[in-house]
């Protein structure tokens, strides 16, 4: 899997490169828009991480140009501007995902990973991890044959965690997918919900399935 990183700030680019390499990606780095414009034509990429603020030519116009050239490589936009409209603007320009700075590296890697396996996502109506099963049609959850009673929000949270089982789910990602928030509310909402979910899913069962990645998010997996 090869990823292109377009980021003018050298230090940030280097962090992103290291984080993605640690995930097993081959990474190329571009430092400006003009250079980036030609890159996906020369080498096929599985995903592109694109900063919006670039010297010379900004990320959004580079992205529009790629899309006009019928290049459909999944793009994760990075933004330092944190503007309300920017997310919408970015998605309109053809981005597949959007991450405002500062971001957690683990979250960035998780999102890039999600982009590269888009389409290969588990679409089965019944999700299962260890002895936990979730029927996405009837919304019923069971662990070890025992029924788990979930509120609507808890169900969405568990479904999201199970669909991305084994992968880290960043706090922002959870807020986006489960609550449809596009901002960091500075509330401990996610942690409180995870705590409740743990009481229902993990209390009295072994192995524990919901794990905390301190400072970044949560992951649902069998092994600790």
């Amino acid at each position: 899997m090869r990823v292109l990183v377009v980021e003018d700030e050298k230090k940030t680019a280097s962090f992103i490169r290291k984080a993605l390499q640690a995930e097993g990606f081959a990474v190329d780095v571009c430092h400006n828009g003009a250079e980036a414009l030609a890159a996906p034509g020369a080498t096929p990429y599985d995903a592109i991480v694109l900063d919006i603020m670039l010297p010379g030519r900004d990320g959004l116009s580079v992205l529009r140009q790629w899309r006009q050239q019928r290049n459909s490589t999944p793009v994760l936009l990075l933004s330092a501007r944190g503007e309300v409209n920017e997310r919408v603007e970015g998605l309109d320009a053809g981005a597949d995902d959007y991450l405002p700075k500062p971001f957690a590296l683990a979250e960035l890697s998780a999102r890039v990973r999600a982009l590269t396996r888009r389409g290969a996502e588990n679409k089965s109506p019944v999700l299962s991890v260890a002895d936990l099963t979730l029927d996405t049609v009837t919304h019923r959850a069971q662990r070890g044959g025992r029924e788990i009673d979930l509120s609507a929000r808890e169900y969405r949270l568990l479904e999201f965690l199970m669909r991305s089982a084994g992968r880290l789910c960043g706090r922002m990602m959870i807020l986006e997918k489960v609550w449809d928030y596009d901002f960091d509310p500075g509330s401990n909402l996610v942690d409180v919900y995870i705590k409740r979910l743990r009481e229902k899913v993990d209390a009295g069962f072994e192995p524990k399935l919901i794990h905390t990645a301190r400072g970044t998010g949560y992951v649902l997996k069998e092994a600790p």
Partner: protein, 351 residues
């Protein structure tokens, strides 16, 4: 007393006085030196008749005319007053209307316009500074966050070290939220944020928010109640309204007391939807109340840092409310009940 009334009064007093003086002089000139006393008393009657039937109507007419004249002269002042009343920090770039005839008032308007223009430039400089500062802060913040995170995931870390890095990362995230909030407000001040208002069912957002509130409150041992949730549709931006509701709900939990309660309600009130969120807790002192929406304002300095927050939540909430042409206000009876009220007007024609 307005200038107009004062000038009209002076004018009419002058008018009356001159009519009397002219009358007395005329009487003196016409009758006194010539005739006997019978003629004199006849003249006196004539004089009273003239004053009554011609003088008084003249005075009334002149008064009316004077009033009209003053009104016409001072109309530009009223226009100027009305226009100046509408000037706030958000529309300093709109100049006051000038008549262009070069009179004193026109000159005054020009001077006022030059003054607001200088103010506008200062405001713009402050805004641009905040915008640039928050942008410049993001790059080092991104690097710091990434570095701390990388160190945190180092397997060889001792638990105590790990805890220290984790706490540092938490603080960095808080800093990032402050910078985000500042950027948002600086952009909003500069009119760079446009919300896309679409018809939405506000009661559905309130119900969602109540579900979250229940969970947040339960974790803190508080009782919650949804007193009313009438179906209402408003023109709104669902993301921003959710942000506002969560912010209020979060505050109601954070600033509560052990064993306290929270009551949420959504009702139709005339031409607006009225959302209220009341909570127990120490509340806000009356002198602090007018400042709660100020950026970085902490109601109680002694407890300001006990509760985690970025200090911009209510400022952002108020901006969201006004961007929806709505109104957010807070009332508080210390140690009893603090109530946040949000009024969102119904779309025109649907009241």
């Amino acid at each position: 007393m307005t200038i107009r009334t004062r000038m009209t009064l002076w004018y009419s007093a002058g008018l009356l006085l001159s009519i009397l003086v002219i009358g007395v002089l005329a009487l003196d000139e016409l009758y006194e030196p010539k005739g006997p006393s019978a003629q004199y008393s006849q003249g006196m009657q004539d004089y009273v008749g003239i004053v009554l039937w011609i003088g008084i109507p003249t005075v009334i007419l002149s008064l009316g005319g004077g009033w009209w004249l003053m009104r016409k002269c001072l109309a530009p002042v009223s226009t100027l007053t009305e226009a100046a009343k509408r000037v706030t920090e958000h529309n300093l770039d709109t100049a006051l209307p000038r008549t262009g005839n070069g009179d004193e008032l026109d000159q005054l308007t020009a001077v006022l316009n030059a003054m607001t223009e200088r103010l506008h430039q200062s405001f713009t400089r402050v805004r641009n500074f905040t915008l640039a500062a928050s942008h410049e802060l993001k790059t080092p913040l991104t690097i710091l966050c990434a570095e701390t995170e990388t160190e945190l995931h180092d397997e060889s870390l001792a638990p105590a070290q790990r805890e220290r890095f984790a706490s540092r990362l938490d603080e960095l995230h808080r800093l990032a939220r402050i910078v985000d909030g500042l950027t948002l407000l600086a952009k909003a001040d500069a009119g760079l944020v446009t919300l896309t208002l679409k018809p939405i069912r506000f009661d559905e957002l309130v119900r969602d928010s109540f579900a979250d509130l229940q969970v947040l409150a339960q974790a803190s041992g508080l009782r919650v109640e949804l007193a009313a949730c009438e179906p209402v549709a408003v023109q709104g931006d669902a993301h921003r309204l959710r942000q506002l509701l969560l912010n209020l709900a979060d505050n109601a939990v954070k600033y509560n007391q052990p064993g306290g309660f929270i009551r949420m309600a959504l009702r139709r009130r005339g031409d607006a939807a009225e959302f209220t969120l009341a909570n127990t807790g120490s509340g806000i002192a009356p002198e602090a109340l007018p400042r709660v929406f100020d950026r970085f304002f902490r109601g109680d300095p002694a407890h300001g840092h006990e509760v985690d927050g970025c200090g911009l939540g209510l400022s952002i909430a108020q901006w969201i409310a006004s961007a929806h042409h709505g109104l957010l206000r807070l009332e508080s009876v210390p140690l009893q009940l603090t109530t946040a009220t949000l009024r969102l007007p119904f779309p025109r024609g649907e009241a």
